[in-house]
């Protein structure tokens, strides 16, 4: 015999009602009109149809901006990783003075809470358009994520390692170079490869705001209503992102295998 009791389902029902009410309220504050979406689907489809076919002749012109974006992401990740290591060492409890640690952790958290796009807007306001604010913005963006992950990784290091280095008379710098750096290197490489994937996406978006590169081409073609050209730019972007993702996954796999062999 099946015993059905509505009481068992009270928490689920209450939860559903709360969520429905919340999403209803949120929909009002966002001025969502679902009828607008259905009309919009027609417009969007028409627009997507306009994209085809891609402008094949534009591809040679896209290579230079694509390379620019790639280099932007690479340099941003490189300099960002260097800065993140500094912040991470200063933000680790087993190396740094508690006051230094608090300040460093605060700066890392501050950076993480600020979207990269607005950092770029400020840098553009300071330095003008070009690849320089883009690279600086991507590097600063690394501090938040890599700094936190690496600082946590350093804090996880076995304290015996640091104690034994201190016992044989190593100073702070020697502890960092010979004790900590080799220990976090595999993690450092894996994290910065992961960050490279994020940065290549970001560099496309930042390009549209004013850092140049393929993102700028894409945004410009869209705003000039040259949809075929925009579609070729989009294809280049997809290839770029997909290629970097595969490369990064392959390299990270290799790192994993090496780390396991050790």
């Amino acid at each position: 015999m099946k015993q059905f009791s509505i009481k068992r389902y009270y928490p689920i029902i209450v939860g559903l009602i709360v969520f429905a009410a919340l999403s209803w309220g949120a929909a009002i504050s966002c001025q969502i009109e679902w009828t607008g979406l259905f009309e919009g689907i027609g417009k969007g489809m028409f627009f997507l149809k306009n994209l085809f076919p891609p402008d094949w002749e534009a591809f040679p012109e896209m290579l230079q901006p694509a390379l620019d974006s790639l280099i932007l992401a690479f340099l941003g990740t490189f300099f960002g990783t260097l800065m993140a290591v500094v912040f991470a060492v200063l933000g680790a409890a087993n190396i740094a003075h508690p006051i230094v640690r608090t300040i460093s952790r605060f700066l890392i958290g501050l950076e993480r809470s600020l979207p990269e796009l607005f950092i770029l807007l400020f840098l553009i306001a300071a330095f003008g358009l070009g690849s320089m604010p883009g690279i600086i913005c991507l590097s600063l963006g690394c501090i938040g994520m890599l700094g936190k992950l690496l600082a946590d990784a350093i804090e996880e290091i076995d304290s015996v390692l640091i104690q034994s280095l201190t016992a044989v008379g190593a100073n702070k710098l020697q502890i960092i170079v010979f004790g900590i750096f080799p220990e976090i290197l595999p993690k450092l490489l894996a994290y910065s490869l992961f960050r490279l994937e994020i940065n290549i996406r970001l560099s496309v978006i930042l390009g549209a705001v004013g850092a140049g590169g393929i993102g700028y081409e894409l945004d410009y073609a869209f705003s000039m209503l040259q949809y075929h050209r925009a579609f070729s730019a989009l294809l280049v972007v997809l290839v770029l992102i997909f290629g970097i993702e595969k490369l990064s996954a392959y390299l990270r796999n290799m790192l994993n295998i090496k780390a396991n062999l050790k």
Partner: protein, 264 residues
Amino acid sequence: MKNPATILPSAQYKRKATIFSVLSIIVIGCCWFVEFNPFGFFSEFHFVQDLLSEMFPPNFEIIWDDNSMAMSILQTLSMAFLGTFYGGFVAIILSFLSATPTMPIVWIRNLTKFMLSLIRVIPSLVIILIFVIAVGPGAFAGVLTLVITTIGTFGKLFTETIDNTENPAGEAIFSVGSNRVQMIKYSIVPQILPSFISNLLYAFDINMRAAIGLGIFGGGGIGYKLHMAMRVLHYKDATALIALIIVLVTIVEKISNTLRKRII
């Protein structure tokens, strides 16, 4: 006579030196190619100083004086919530369709996996450009963009979570004669539920930041306000808005972290 092995550089040292020199050549070549001078940030720091002197002191009155400010904060929060809610909902459905233990039919699995990776690769910039054309600029276009990006990111993550569940429990339930739906209900759902909820909280955290960033491209909310303040060069207002954003993001992050720690 000394042993040559102690005088000549060791193989390990040679490898390190090679890696270091190749890396520095690549970096210098890249810098030269895009005409970027890493020290330019310091030599031209006076630009930053000029900007900072214009930004401070922040004009906090704009937060209280502007009546639409509370509305745009609410709008940003709602965008993040709706993006997470609908995006997470669709992501959960798609993840069940693309994970091995829940979906026995191979071609459906491959199709949904392909769709998810396609969504993931398209940059959010393109998605919002398309939605702004489709439904007009405003918070609605932002919500739709967040829904799509959430599906892409978390669909894959959820699929991996389901794939990583332990099979023996499911096999035991199968062996006593249950069907696949019962197996999912009693073996898979209890295993994945905590991870799903904590990931959705994390998604809200991410979407909050993304919602602010989307404001630049016509997504509405507090990001749009900040973009406008920067565009008309009201840097003092912009500083106040940035302080507001930092406080908002930090509060959301703290809440989401506390809730996640409680669940796990």
